[in-house]
Amino acid sequence: MKRKNTRLFFGLLILWLSARWLSATILVSPVRFEIQIVPGKSDTEAVRVRNLGNSEQTVNIYASDFQLDEEGALSFPEEGTLEGSILPWLRVNPSFLTLRPKEEKWIRFTVSLPEDSEKELQGMIFFQTMPPGTEKAKGRQVFISARLGVVVYVSPKGKAKKSAEISDFLLKENLKDASLEYALFLVNQGNVHFRPKGTVTLRDGRGEKIASTELNPKAEAVLSGAHRIFEGKIGLGLKPDSYRVIAEVDYGGKTNLEGEKAIHFPSEATLDAFEAKWAIPGAEKKGLSLETGTLSVKESEGGLQVSVSAAGLSSYKYFELSDPPRLVIDLKGVDSQSFPESFPVNSHKVVGLRTSQFQAFPEKILRIAIDFQEKQNYRVRRDGEKVTIDIESVESSETGAGNRALGSQPGILFWATAKGSNLYQRLDRTLLRIKDSKGEILTEVPLRVQAISSGIKLEGEWEKSLPSGVYFAELAIFSKEQLLLSSFLKLKRKG
């Protein structure tokens, strides 16, 4: 018994030491404060910060704003630029500290709210390690800081109001895997943040439940006055039928929100392409540009240019195959390992690229297949270990591809091609709406309709300089009797 106890004691001691050894750095706790205080009053809280490392650490402590965009991405705007910031009402003491190995200290902070406060304010307190040796650095060096953010939400006591609205609900079909894609727009109209929970349910024509998915599985926050877009996919291998997609959102209010959308799958008409491009008059046209380490596809005058970085290339040959139309290029001496197996393009009648190790012995041969929607003109050339294929679009007037120039304003170019039985003859009207990330309609874009061999081609443009953000283009095609097709496209404008 005595020996057993001794062994257990040493076992626990070793376990304790190894656990300590593993956690050798900075720790903060708690990580989030949700404080309610009477406006005009203040509250003091404390954060525990601990150096679990084996060396002394200097830690810088400061407050920062944060915000979440419509897709939930976190950013830290400059101080003084954000409405709803707690920074003017937050004091942290001290602003830096030195922690000996394994040492722990409590950092106090005080928050208050103005007397007329009606809404929740938020901010973040950062604890950032300061790397030593920067003052003596030479050559090319990289210094690393670990920064931990403690979030502080402060709301006026007794005045919390939770209110939300589903401002839009978009639906489109995905023919590749016979599923439906949705985008749900949620607006927080209350004065405090919430973390919505909910489900999206798919029901068939008889009302039977086909599938269900969680709306916000990561429990992401929607800040007061902000809006969020939740996107997802539902159903798989759907059979032709009429479907209803129902979203139910619990945001913590008195009643849940509900949104519903109906769709017939598959639609009578099918979209071959629905694309948009930001355009700036007078600026260099950048167009399509896709790249991996070994393959790149870029828009060029009148078509596309495919570049292959083929390390080890000794010789090459190429030939055409039909049904489906494709160009095959065999590159001798090249290993397939650094190439993606498939590389979708979906532009200028090029569906995409596929690669495989056609032969491994006695000499390696990499095979690249370029799949076309229809036969294209091309030219293959070699420069050292680089092979370039220039593809000229045979029917570039049908593909559109945003070649049309804008007037004097920057804006967006749209084009789409759709097919369906007698589609051009049955077509009554088209509708292209541009919406912002709140789901509000910014404009309706008139579309030019042209009959092409496979169906119809639609083109339009909106000459408008838009700020950075997320936008949606919602397309609908109607016959006289019914809706033939609806879809949407997400557009991101970067600053």
Binding site: L12, A24, T25, P131, G139, Q141, I144, R147, G384
Partner: protein, 194 residues
């Protein structure tokens, strides 16, 4: 004696639990470990890349091994499109664990009781003749390098609570137009749970 040892055991147990566990208190832990040879985490790391040149020389001073330079924008240094050399540091894949990461520059260890967000942002100090985006990173198992930026780039969005390890490789692009000098990138890895 037996009683004393029993008490000692009990005290050790309390000490162990008290020192390591804070029940019901959400916490965040972030450990960044550079390519130092000590097989241990330290929170203050520096990466010395040495006197790399723009000609893809295989050898270099500094603290790093496993440096490989390849042309930027061209298939060889003699291609007129070549702008310089991208040096890959410890770019092989795999073979990493929480104590040792011989095939990646950085090991990032996260412990969080709640869902978390991990991001990185960079700042360039020193002579101003190079760009901040000449330093790249990639997740160890990936092939694509991503340039660092002066705004946060999300590495993990709403990560699963618990302990997680992440390994990153670096690439440094040295261009023909670069002037000799001292360049220091300050990388800030931010962990938060909002």
């Amino acid at each position: 004696m037996e009683f004393k040892q029993g008490r000692l055991f009990f005290l050790a147990l309390i000490f162990f639990l008290g020192a390591s566990i804070h029940p019901q208190e959400p916490s965040l832990t972030l450990v960044i470990d550079g390519p130092d040879p000590d097989n241990d985490y330290t929170s203050m790391e520096a990466i010395h890349m040495g006197e790399v040149d723009c000609w893809g020389s295989p050898g270099a001073s500094g603290d790093l091994v496993g440096i490989y330079g390849k042309p930027v924008g061209a298939s060889s240094l003699y291609d007129k499109a070549c702008r310089g050399v991208l040096y890959e540091f410890l770019s092989a894949t795999g073979g990493n664990n929480e104590f040792s990461h011989p095939t990646s520059i950085l090991a990032v260890y996260v412990v969080s009781s709640l869902k978390y967000e991990l991001s990185v942002m960079a700042q360039l100090n020193g002579d101003a003749s190079v760009g901040l985006d000449q330093l790249f990173y990639k997740e160890d198992s990936q092939t694509e390098y991503i340039p660092f930026t002066n705004h946060p780039q999300t590495l993990v969005s709403r990560g699963t609570p618990g302990a997680s390890y992440f390994f990153y490789d670096f690439g440094l692009q040295v261009e023909f137009g670069d002037k000799p000098g001292h360049y220091f990138w300050n990388l800030t890895y931010t962990l938060t749970s909002y």
